[in-house]
């Protein structure tokens, strides 16, 4: 119900149903944890769009969760600036400490890791996003401290 209400609100903000699709997918992602077939169908039903169209649009975008993910999503940049500043050591650290591979999820479902291509914080490299929080100037100590605050 909450889901439908949120989509209703989104619909009010857009001139047509197609326009409301991308934000509605975020709502579905919250509701279902990730963009499953079921979630596409729910969005299609709510927006009265063909399910195939919804899926086509959703799969074009990399920012959505296209598979089940942990409670917290770590998006770590390993692009040039971050790489130079040691981001790859951080990737190794996550592997050793949490058993977390790029693109993977920890066994306890706590973290998922996605490697990002530049989040525009080269001056404070290495940088990452945890869910929607931004963290920069990372090093091996700092990253663990930060992550430990996400339960």
């Amino acid at each position: 119900m909450e889901f439908l209400k949120e989509i209703e609100e989104i619909l009010n903000r857009y001139p047509d149903r197609q326009g409301a699709l991308l934000p509605s997918l975020y709502v579905a992602q919250k509701e279902y944890g990730w963009l499953s077939q079921e979630s596409y169908e729910a969005v299609a039903q709510a927006l009265n769009l063909p399910p195939a169209t919804v899926k086509g649009v959703a799969t074009f975008y990399a920012m959505y969760k296209h598979k089940p993910m942990g409670r917290h999503l770590i998006q770590l940049c390993t692009n040039v600036a971050c790489m130079v500043m040691g981001a790859e050591r951080l990737v190794d650290l996550l592997k050793n400490k949490y058993g977390l591979e790029p693109g993977g999820t920890t066994e306890d479902g706590r973290f998922s890791l996605v490697i990002m291509e530049c989040i525009g914080a080269c001056d404070k490299a290495p940088a990452m996003l945890v869910d929607t929080d931004f963290h920069a100037d990372l090093n091996e100590k700092r990253i663990i401290e930060i992550l430990e605050s996400y339960k």
Partner: protein
């Protein structure tokens, strides 16, 4: 006037078109890949690049509008290099498995590379891999071959309206997939595989069985599945139809087909086809020679005629047979045997509907052009789902909606779900109340034309439903307001009438109301036709009260004219209709029945009654392509040639006459007209017919409607109503309506069994098509989710479905769009068919049947 120069040629344009189209007009071919005539331009492949003077970069001709003074070049070295580069990009990921690909030989990519190169690619990296998908029995997709032109998607979305497929993923990981990622679960029209330029979406039916250049013969014919009459081409090799294809520019379907027309052709090769004539000896059908069979039929018909008179004999014509076949059967009955006892299953709704409407408005009132629907600004659909009964007509309604027209559906919207402005779903059989309310209101707000006084008088006498009646019908007064407002605003409306309008409630009242509405808003009417030739059956005179050309039998003038022309007597008295023949057979008045191309036992309600009636006959002749349930009861069975094995014509629901052409005869069946002719000769007919063409020559001599209409005219597409013949005029006028001043009671508790008319089937022919069966393999009872919940069943579980006629277990399928209190079952599968459960009564006014005994008991079957 726009003037431009393309490759040195001056081109003049009346109206603005793209450079690609302008070039085509000038006879210059610009290569394309993502462009497809009839689809919106996409501009994605960049093969149509051209040079335009004063424009800095190469332009895509398929999206660039031609402008005055443009100077365009279509083949320069720069362009060739660009095209070669585009193709090299496409080949990075293309598997180049041409030796193994069915498309090779008619592949646009192959042809383009052959012309522009490159001879070798420079990319050494591995190609993307994506396994070929065989989840579907009739369509296979190989996305490694896909060039992402999106032609299939534009086809599926914009023309078909199924929205079943999409590009998933992005970049080199993009593929065209149905929603499920596996099976298409779509309308299976196959129109996507028509437009795919490469071998990415293909039919599985003929996979690896031939190369396109193996096609030995192409036969242009008309689809034998429904009354739209799509044009299609049989591609033949040796004995077989390799595939059927539509062609852009050919016929009213203009390049589109539905699932039945495209994939259903294999019924002609079914192993169930009859291979020999048979005579019943002591309860067993034994093979005999044609000679023996003919002699038997002739001897028995003679005996019966001598002992009981000609009216003890009757004939059943067929909406699946050609005009020539049907003409010959009525000729045998009327002019040789001497009885007007001839009818067909068009009686189940089509013939009464057309007869009734013509009685009010005159002959040809339903003869309107299907392709015109899309240009209308509004449609009212009532009594059935056009997208499943007459799919290509259904697409026209979708197109109407897409171009901004209003579509109002009365009843469950089915395939118009996404394309209806709104639907009005009254309780079962309360359509009459809705229509009465709309008509009453409409004529108050809009003055009638004063043209048809007989109709206007009756409209005045109509009882207007009160608030309470509407409530009982489950429709609000606001809905009626909305309908009236919208209908009034339509300028070029169409009304589409389906079978259900006649088969429930009071057919004459429903038809009258529809007619009144059409009259009030000036609408064109279409009657959906479940069979390819219901209209032809009527026009060939296979009615107990009409001669060929739709001339009433009780007009002496018409009878005499035929008698003069043919030198044969025409019986005077009205014959028996289908239902009367069944009754007459049951009480012994009818002794012999000649059934051509119809499975009465399967197609009629009241099965027990029909069975007893047929059993009581002295002689039952069944002429068919299969050993149907009715054929099993016959005294003699005559194997007929099927749709793809004979010549002739069909008349579609818009009364367009089109040619049916023989591919090759693969069975021992003979054309129906020929069998009938042999029997007629044995009964003393002196006329020899040696081809379907001969038969048609006689038709155009005696039917004033078809006067002078030659096969050549028909082939040239000139056979559109009114054919330059003489339509019947001046007999319209009086007609009756049952219950003008009353309204029906609505039963709100009963669960009603309705006939499901699935897209993938059309009665028993489709059941013999392996392709169609693979999509819809077994009987299912369609149920609304809340009704299913009510008895605790889920999809796939079984229920026991019972009326006093039958009690049978059947699997449940949930249909969200079905209205509550209605379950539906198709009339497709032997043993579990709709008609088996129900009975009928006949409304005297229209002669149409009304389904009865359709309130059912449902019980979950415990595992």
């Amino acid at each position: 006037m726009i003037k431009l120069t393309i490759d040195g040629k001056e081109v003049e344009l009346e109206k603005p078109v793209t450079v690609l189209e302008a070039a085509k007009k000038a006879g210059i071919r610009i290569p394309t890949l993502c462009y497809f005539e009839g689809l919106s331009p996409f501009g994605g492949c960049r093969l149509c690049l051209v040079e335009v003077e004063k424009l800095p970069k190469l332009q895509t001709a398929c999206t660039l509008m031609a402008a005055d003074g443009m100077v365009v070049r279509t083949e320069t070295e720069q362009i060739k290099a660009a095209r070669r580069a585009m193709l090299e990009f496409l080949l990075i990921n293309h598997p180049l498995d041409c030796p193994y690909c069915d498309k090779a030989g008619e592949c646009e990519l192959q042809d383009l590379v052959a012309k522009y190169g490159p001879e070798a690619g420079r990319f050494a990296e591995g190609k993307r891999q994506h396994p070929e998908n065989f989840d579907d029995p009739i369509i296979v997709r190989n996305m490694e071959r896909c060039v992402l032109c999106t032609r299939c998607i534009r086809m599926c979305n914009d023309l078909q309206g199924a929205y079943a497929i999409t590009v998933t993923g992005r970049g080199s990981h993009s593929f065209v997939e149905p929603f499920s990622g596996g099976k298409y679960n779509c309308e299976y029209c196959g129109n996507c595989l028509t437009v795919c330029p490469v071998g990415a979406i293909m039919s599985r039916l003929h996979r690896h069985s031939y190369r396109p250049w193996f096609v030995e013969k192409e036969v242009e014919t008309t689809c034998g599945y429904c009354g739209v009459g799509c044009s299609l081409i049989l591609q033949m090799r040796e004995e077989r139809i390799i595939r059927t294809i539509p062609r852009v520019g050919l016929g009213l379907n203009n390049g589109l087909l539905c699932v039945r027309g495209r994939f259903g052709y294999d019924f002609v090769e079914s192993r169930d086809r009859l291979s020999t004539p048979m005579i019943n000896v002591n309860g067993e059908l034994r093979p005999v020679s044609w000679q023996e069979a003919y002699e038997f039929v002739i001897r028995r018909l003679k005996e019966i005629k001598e002992t009981h008179g000609p009216t003890a004999i009757g004939g059943i014509a067929s909406g699946r047979c050609t005009n020539e076949d049907n003409y010959m059967l009525q000729r045998l009955m009327r002019f040789v045997i001497g009885t007007n006892n001839i009818d067909s299953t068009a009686r189940l709704y089509y013939a009464p509907a057309v007869a009734y409407l013509e009685q009010i408005f005159g002959q040809g009132i339903t003869a309107n052009l299907i392709p015109g629907i899309a240009n209308s600004d509004g449609a009212l659909v009532i009594g059935g789902d056009p997208t499943t009964i007459n799919p290509i007509l259904g697409l026209q309604i979708r197109a109407l909606w897409r171009s901004g027209g209003k579509v109002i559906v009365v009843g469950a919207p089915g395939g118009l779900k996404r394309f209806a402005s709104y639907e009005v779903v009254p309780r079962p059989f309360a359509e009459e109340i809705v229509l009465s309310a709309v008509v009453s209101r409409l004529v108050k707000e809009k003055e009638l034309k004063g043209e048809l006084t007989h109709l206007e008088e009756k409209i005045k006498g109509l009882k207007e439903p009160a608030e309470g009646d509407l409530q009982a019908a489950g429709v609000s007064a606001e809905t009626i307001d909305r309908m009236v407002t919208d209908l009034k605003a339509m300028e070029t409306p169409v009304i589409v009438i389906g079978p259900e309008l006649l088969q429930h409630g009071r057919p004459s009242k429903n038809l009258f109301l529809t007619a009144a509405l059409a009259y009030a808003i000036n609408a064109r009417m279409f009657v959906l036709s479940e069979r390819p030739n219901y209209q032809g059956v009527i026009d060939m005179g296979c009615l107990p009260d009409m001669l060929p050309g739709g001339r009433p039998i009780d007009f002496e003038m018409f009878r005499h004219k035929i008698e003069e022309t043919l030198g044969k007597e025409v019986p005077q008295n009205k014959g028996l209709n289908l239902f009367e023949m069944i009754d007459a057979a049951a009480d012994g008045r009818l002794k012999a029945l000649y059934v051509m191309g119809e499975d009465l036992l399967f197609s009629l309600p009241g099965r027990e009654k029909t069975r007893k009636a047929l059993e009581g006959l002295d002689l039952l002749i069944v002429q068919d392509i299969y050993l149907t349930e009715t054929a099993k009861m016959a005294d003699v069975v005559l194997p007929a040639a099927s749709w793809s094995e004979k010549d002739g014509t069909f008349t579609n629901l818009e009364r367009r006459i089109q040619r049916v052409r023989a591919g090759r005869t693969i069975s021992s069946g003979r054309p129906d007209w020929q069998i009938v002719s042999e029997i007629a000769r044995g009964l003393g007919d002196d006329k020899v017919f040696s081809s379907a063409h001969d038969v048609w020559e006689e038709v155009i001599h005696i039917s004033p409607l078809h006067a002078g209409l030659s096969y050549e005219d028909i082939s040239e597409g000139k056979a559109i109503w009114p054919y330059h013949g003489e339509p019947l005029r001046g007999v319209e006028g009086e007609f009756d309506v049952e219950g003008l001043d009353s309204l029906p009671k609505v039963d709100t508790d009963a669960i009603i069994l309705n006939m499901h008319r699935p897209l993938y089937h059309s009665g028993s022919t489709s059941r013999r098509s392996k392709a169609l069966i693979s999509i819809f393999p077994e009987p299912v009872l369609m149920m609304n989710p809340s009704d299913a919940k009510g008895i605790g069943v889920e999809e796939g579980e079984k229920v026991r479905l019972a009326t006093s006629n039958a009690s049978i277990e059947v699997k449940v399928k949930i249909d969200r769009d079905l209205q509550q209190g209605v379950v539906s079952l198709s009339n497709t599968f032997e043993g579990v068919n709709f008609m088996r459960f129900v009975d009928y009564t006949v409304e005297p006014t229209t002669g149409s049947m009304v389904i009865t005994n359709n309130s059912v008991k449902l019980e979950k079957v415990k595992e």
